[in-house]
């Protein structure tokens, strides 16, 4: 049920993001979703790609500080209150969301929300218990 996300440490310097995408492109790795969190000096680039393990390996070899994190992807219906419905369930059981980001897919009208929590298994259980569809990793990678 988990999705493997690649996180990369980037200095706020010209050309660093381009270098990451270049390495991925050279290795035929396709980016599904990305988000950047940054401060004035550095940023953390978070990526969902079609081949997470390969991406981790090639970025590491290219000299980046990189890690993998398990995140959860859920489908959110494209209507007001869609996201709120999901967050409400997690809030009720006291699961704190560290960060989240969204992307849309070509195949469905639904949006995908990717989020990171400390208690991944617990969150999955809660969401499933409330009939919220969790999109498994394999499916996300192939979108």
């Amino acid at each position: 049920m988990r999705v493997q996300q690649i996180s990369i440490f980037l200095e706020n310097k010209k050309g660093r993001l381009a270098k990451v995408t270049e390495v991925l492109g050279e290795n035929q790795i396709n980016i599904r979703a990305l988000s950047i969190a940054d401060t004035t000096d550095f940023g953390i680039l978070r990526l969902i790609v079609n081949k997470p393990q390969l991406a981790y390996q090639v970025l590491k070899e290219a000299g980046f500080t990189v890690s993998t994190t398990d995140v959860i992807a859920v489908e959110v219906t494209d209507q007001p209150g869609g996201l709120s419905n999901i967050l409400r369930h997690l809030d009720k059981v006291g699961i704190n969301i560290e960060y989240l980001y969204a992307f849309v897919t070509q195949t469905t009208s639904a949006a995908l929300i990717v989020f990171r929590v400390e208690q991944v298994d617990e969150a999955i259980k809660v969401l499933q218990g409330n009939s919220i569809r969790i999109v498994p990793g394999d499916e996300v990678y192939q979108i």
Binding site: Q5, S7, F9, L10, E11, R16, A37, D38, T39, D41, F42, I44, R46, K60, G63, F64, T65, V66, S67, T69, E98, Y99, R116
Partner: protein
């Protein structure tokens, strides 16, 4: 009690009293360090062949303490003890303990009484003063300006009345002004890189080279080197004294020298494996770089034969030593020297790792206050000053090294009577004065290393903004300290900042940078950029 998990392949080292090995299939390389209490004790290393396993599960063994001291490396394979206990049989290929059996290259001079030493020094000092007075116009003039004639130097105490020699004097007399023999007697010259102006040139007579080789052999012997060793010399060969100085010393020892010089890391690692290198000689920053590359290349430490590292030519810290020892499975020794005085082989750390023995039968060390130029008593920190006693080609009188150290007179546990100098903690000209506080890059290095999770690659950038000094410490972020949450990295920055503040008493901005983004050198490390225009 500290427990640390160790992977089966190329485990670095474990510290503490109990060791956990994460895999019990096949053979497991093990490196254990236990801090030595008594250095020159009995050959206790025999005992470590067996470890009692105190508990056993599918995935790990927990080993009882061996109770032994020193560094051990070897291949461990589990076998069943007749009582049902599991034992580890260790087929040891390097027992670091053996190296503690430090051997004297020149027992007579290395262990002579302080009185005997003073007698030799006095005799040699008188001869030296007489000689430079007659053969080097520079010294004659300097002595005359102070109203001194060679006859005034009657005891070691009188050394204090002699004038200092500085790097500027060496430049002003470029190239041969301070040579004390005719040029034809000089058989080799070395020179500094001369990046800050004219280079410093030093000359050696045949006898000087002989003395030098002997002193470097003394260094090797002190670190446990013998003719059985393979020495990989990754100091640069050429005008720099490091390469050739170490080279001929290793030859004098009778060891097998591999004159690979600096750089070409991939080849360094290959030859290290193929030639079974047992002693590595290079700068500590290059050693660390090599260690990282060895780990990056996935080389199993168990396949290397390294046991000793002799590192010098730049200041390094005890924390850096610990890192090098753990990463390479060696015992790291500090060697000190400078071209103006000899080159490597002026002082060397014995296995007690408690300061470097200055070879006092050839050099007289002093510590002075760099500002008042007054000699300081033993135990006080200041600038190191050397007088050479036996050099023919290029003798120096009270040469100011700009290196910061302390001298300790207590006789060492290893039995050597020569004074011990503290490892160099900085340079009078590396010393940064930031907001009125004296800061040495080495202090910051120790703070970074305390974190353990920080790779010791850093750069200090000093600037002056609105008439206030501003210190920024750029630190390379390693994978094990990376958090994919901004908050995690901010906490790391804050902890580093707080620690720097408490150690140095000044605040600094911490900037995390990407791995391998700071300038790497295969020679001396660049640690400071000072942008202040004063």
């Amino acid at each position: 009690m500290l427990k640390r998990s160790v992977g089966a392949a190329g485990c670095p080292a474990v510290t503490g009293e109990r060791y956990r090995i994460m895999s019990c299939t096949g053979k497991v390389a093990l490196a254990i360090r236990v801090v030595p209490r008594k250095i020159l004790s009995v050959p206790w290393w025999m005992e470590i062949f067996l470890f009692t396993v105190t508990s056993f599960s599918r995935t790990c063994f927990e080993l009882g303490p061996s109770g032994q001291l020193g560094w051990y490396r070897g291949i461990v394979s589990p076998s069943l003890h007749r009582d049902g206990d599991f034992l580890f049989k260790v087929s040891v290929h390097t027992i670091m303990g053996v190296e503690y059996m430090t051997s004297y290259w020149d027992a007579h001079h290395e262990t002579m009484s302080r009185d005997q030493l003073a007698e030799i020094q006095t005799k040699r000092l008188k001869t030296l003063v007489e000689r430079v007075y007659t053969s080097v116009p520079f010294y004659r003039q300097a002595f005359q300006e102070k109203g001194i004639t060679p006859g005034d130097i009657k005891s070691l105490e009188d050394l204090k009345s002699l004038p200092f020699t500085t790097k500027k004097d060496l430049r002003d007399t470029y190239p041969f002004g301070l040579f004390a023999v005719p040029r034809s007697e000089i058989v080799r010259m070395h020179a500094s890189s001369g990046t800050t102006g004219k280079p410093i040139v030093v000359g050696y007579t045949k006898k000087d080279l002989d003395t030098w080789s002997d002193l470097v052999a003394r260094c090797f012997s002190m670190a446990g080197g013998t003719k059985e060793d393979v020495v990989q010399n990754a100091y640069g060969y050429g005008l720099f004294t490091g390469g050739l100085g170490i080279h001929y010393g290793a030859e004098r020892l009778g060891a097998t020298i591999v004159p690979i010089s600096g750089g070409n890391t991939a080849r360094q690692i290959m030859l290290m494996q193929d030639f079974q290198t047992s002693i590595l000689t290079c700068t500590p920053s290059y050693a660390l770089y090599l260690a990282d590359e060895i780990h990056a290349a996935g080389v199993d430490l168990g396949t290397l034969h390294l046991k000793v590292g002799i590192f010098g030519a730049e200041p390094w810290s005890n924390n850096m030593r610990r890192q090098l020892e753990e990463k390479l499975g060696i015992r790291a020794h500090d060697i000190y020297g400078l071209s103006e005085v000899l080159g490597p082989g002026v002082a060397m750390e014995c296995p007690c790792q408690n300061g470097l023995h200055v070879f006092e039968d050839h050099f007289i060390p002093e510590i002075i206050d760099p500002v008042t130029e007054q000699p300081l008593p033993y135990g006080e920190k200041g600038e190191l000053v050397f007088t050479t006693l036996t050099k023919e080609g290029f003798p120096v009188i009270r040469y100011r090294t700009k290196d910061i150290s302390t001298l300790y007179p207590e006789v060492c546990e290893c039995g050597r009577t020569h004074l011990r100098m503290e490892r160099i903690t900085g340079r009078t000209d590396d010393m940064l004065i930031i907001r009125g506080v004296n800061v040495f890059p080495s202090q910051i290095e120790s703070v970074l290393l305390e974190f353990g999770e920080t790779e010791p690659h850093y750069l200090l950038v000093v600037d002056r903004k609105a008439s206030l000094d501003d210190l920024e410490i750029q630190v390379e972020l390693s994978a094990n300290m990376f958090s994919d949450k901004i908050a995690g990295l901010e906490v790391l920055e804050r902890r580093l900042r707080e620690r720097i503040l408490s150690v140095l008493g000044i605040s600094a901005k911490i900037k995390l940078v990407e791995p391998k983004s700071l300038p790497r050198s295969e020679g001396k490390a660049k640690r400071v950029i000072d942008r202040r225009e004063l």
